[in-house]
Amino acid sequence: MRNPDHPSSLFWLVAGIGIVFGSLKYGFGSLQAPGAGFITFFAGAILILLSAGLLVSSIRSQEPESGLRLLWKGLEARKVLYVLILLVIYALLLKHVGFLISTFVLLIFLFRVKANYHLLNVILMSFLVTAGSYLLFQVWLKVQLPKGILGGII
């Protein structure tokens, strides 16, 4: 697994196989009357061929220096995961808790990901940004943002 193309081509190869089988399930039809899975079948088949080609060439050119780990070397990959988890929680809670509270809390966490600002500053910034975006989107652009538990108040 030295060359990064190796795992990625394997991934697309598997995806291509899945697409081809899925398309056959939806119905290939015939050339006279193409079915629902007609074009995705061909797209999947070409994907299989291409990723197989990439796989072969990645096996041939194994450079000892280019490991998979090198892609993340010297980087703070944990922070990416942290931000992603925050975003997923936000998506799950948005409807129930409401835009104002969940955005305010999300921003407090996000502003501290890459810097150590004083907590008071962070709270102030989060408050201003939440209020500003509410005014911009809800009041001015008339986007219906979820009210959540504040439903009775605002």
Partner: protein, 503 residues
């Protein structure tokens, strides 16, 4: 003259106060996102798309187009001052623009970039006005087989021109076609690749896909980066106006860049990015002092800046005449036009003349606005550049979150966007290009339809693509493009075989 009437009509539309206002908002936002690294025109347009559902379509398209060419302007500012391209089309501007700034000539560099952009943008708009109507008339004769072959050509050209491995780009195009066909089949009403999720029945939304692939992924890549101090040019900016000698050195590069950019822009696939690189190469080759390039040659700023702006105008031609987008931004505009109930295609110019001519004229006005706006506001943009990234990225993320949610008031769209954000992040890590995926995703359903209609027309014979003259020419071009990169490889292989044979 007929065309003059049309242009006057267009100006009438564009000068309506509402349209003027939206044009101004568009170019202002465009410049802003062009200045901010990590937030490009693609993300900005998809962000504002849901908001435009409440405004009149013409004003919306005028604003969205303004964001596109405004971003081209803004991108050059960051390239010159900070050596960070605000968006991909300004990468080339870094080479000589930043060097000029280091020599204390940031002012003239910014000035010539603005003037070159204005002149080229103007050229592009005039070209668009003259070329689009005859092309649209021709396109009226196209049937499903022609459309299908044109789309195949578009995808092929894009994968050929896109940076990086052509093999990977083709793979991404295939993935895009599949993603584009997720949802109910238009003919049999059968759900395809929906995995039982309601949100996928209508297909994968373009907005969450684009914001994930280009917005969220960019933020994720920056979040893991250890922050260095961004060096912003501190010297005072004075004398934005280029000198007479600067003008003399830039005159022909601007003209060459404008023409080159316009025609490369028409070709499907990343027009603005490619044309700026090509222009830089051309200028270096024809220059009497090629050794100055990379050390602050003003021609290296003027040419590419002109090219990327006229390319943005050229890129509108396939969209407005054929209904085929040539890059990711055009793909979003296509989606927007569909939502407004004005499907782009050869009939658009005649059935919605106010939209077509109004947008073109507004681009002309927008270019003038940008010139007036950019020169005095450069100080402000520099200040914005000083916003530290730890503060900036939560704001970008918040905009993406709201944009995705407001599309259907559905948090599941956010989930979809996060998913594509992860995909885009990994794609950048493993060096896969996102542009072919987006274009193929938009073309996917159109390709599905035209392919099936073609086969129904021919009674199941694939030969229909080779017996119609236009299709034949297009497919010959596709074959040529696909085999071009293999030819040198074959030459090398034959050489190796010969060497082995000699031993």
């Amino acid at each position: 003259m007929d065309i003059l009437d049309h242009i006057f009509f267009g100006f009438e539309v564009a000068f309506q106060p509402l349209n003027l206002l939206f044009c101004f908002i568009g170019v202002l936002i465009g410049t802003l996102v062009g200045v901010l690294p990590g937030l490009g025109p693609v993300a900005a347009i998809s962000l504002l798309l849901p908001a435009t559902f409440h405004t009149p379509p013409v004003a919306s398209i005028i604003m969205l187009s303004g964001i596109y060419y405004g971003a081209m302007y803004g991108g050059s500012t960051t390239s010159i001052l900070v050596n960070i391209p605000g968006e991909a089309a300004s990468v080339v501007t870094c080479f000589d623009g930043y060097q000029m700034a280091r020599k204390g000539r940031a002012g003239p560099a910014l000035g010539i970039a603005a003037f070159a952009s204005f002149l080229a943008g103007t050229f592009g708009v005039v070209g668009l006005g003259f070329l689009a109507p005859p092309l649209a008339a021709m396109a009226l004769k196209f049937g499903p087989p022609e459309y299908f072959s044109l789309m195949v050509l578009g995808l092929t050209v894009l994968t050929f021109l896109a940076g990086g491995s052509m093999l990977k780009s083709l793979m991404m195009a295939c993935v895009g076609v599949v993603i584009g066909n997720v949802g109910l089949d238009l003919i049999t009403a059968q759900p395809r690749f929906t995995f039982g999720l309601d949100i996928l029945l209508d297909g994968v939304g373009l907005v969450p896909l684009v914001m994930g692939l280009f917005g969220v992924s960019e933020v994720l890549l920056n979040v893991e980066e250890k922050l260095g101090e961004r060096e912003i040019f501190k010297a005072a900016l004075k004398g934005l106006l280029p000198t007479f000698r600067d003008w003399k050195d830039s005159f022909w590069p601007i003209i060459r860049g404008s023409v080159l950019g316009f025609f490369l822009g028409i070709l499907p696939g990343g027009g603005a990015v490619i044309s700026s690189f090509v222009s830089y190469g051309v200028e270096k080759r024809v220059s009497n002092h090629p050794e100055e390039f990379g050390k602050g040659a003003i021609a290296g700023v003027a040419g590419p800046e002109a090219a990327n702006n006229s390319a943005t105008a050229g890129a509108f031609i396939p969209l407005l005449t054929l209904g085929l987008p040539s890059n990711a931004v055009m793909a979003i505009l296509l989606g927007a036009l569909m939502i407004y109930g004005m499907p782009p295609g050869p009939k658009l110019i005649t059935s919605h003349p106010h939209l077509f001519w109004g947008t073109i004229s507004s681009m002309y006005i927008g270019n003038a606005m940008l010139l007036i706006l950019n020169l005095p506001l450069i100080g402000l943009w520099v200040k914005i550049l000083k916003i530290p990234y730890p503060v900036l990225f939560p704001l970008i993320l918040l905009f993406c979150l709201i944009g995705a949610y407001s599309l259907n008031n559905n948090p599941a769209e956010i989930g979809l966007m996060i998913l594509f954000g992860v995909l885009g992040y990994l794609m950048k890590k493993f060096k896969y290009d996102g542009a072919p995926l987006v274009l193929a995703m938009v073309l996917g359903p159109l390709m599905d339809q035209s392919l099936r209609q073609s086969l129904l027309m021919s009674g199941g014979s694939g030969m229909i693509f080779f017996t119609r003259p236009i299709c034949l020419i297009i497919f010959a071009a596709v074959a040529l493009i696909l085999f071009l990169p293999i030819l040198p490889l074959m030459g090398r292989m034959r050489k190796r075989v010969a060497e082995v044979g000699e031993v």
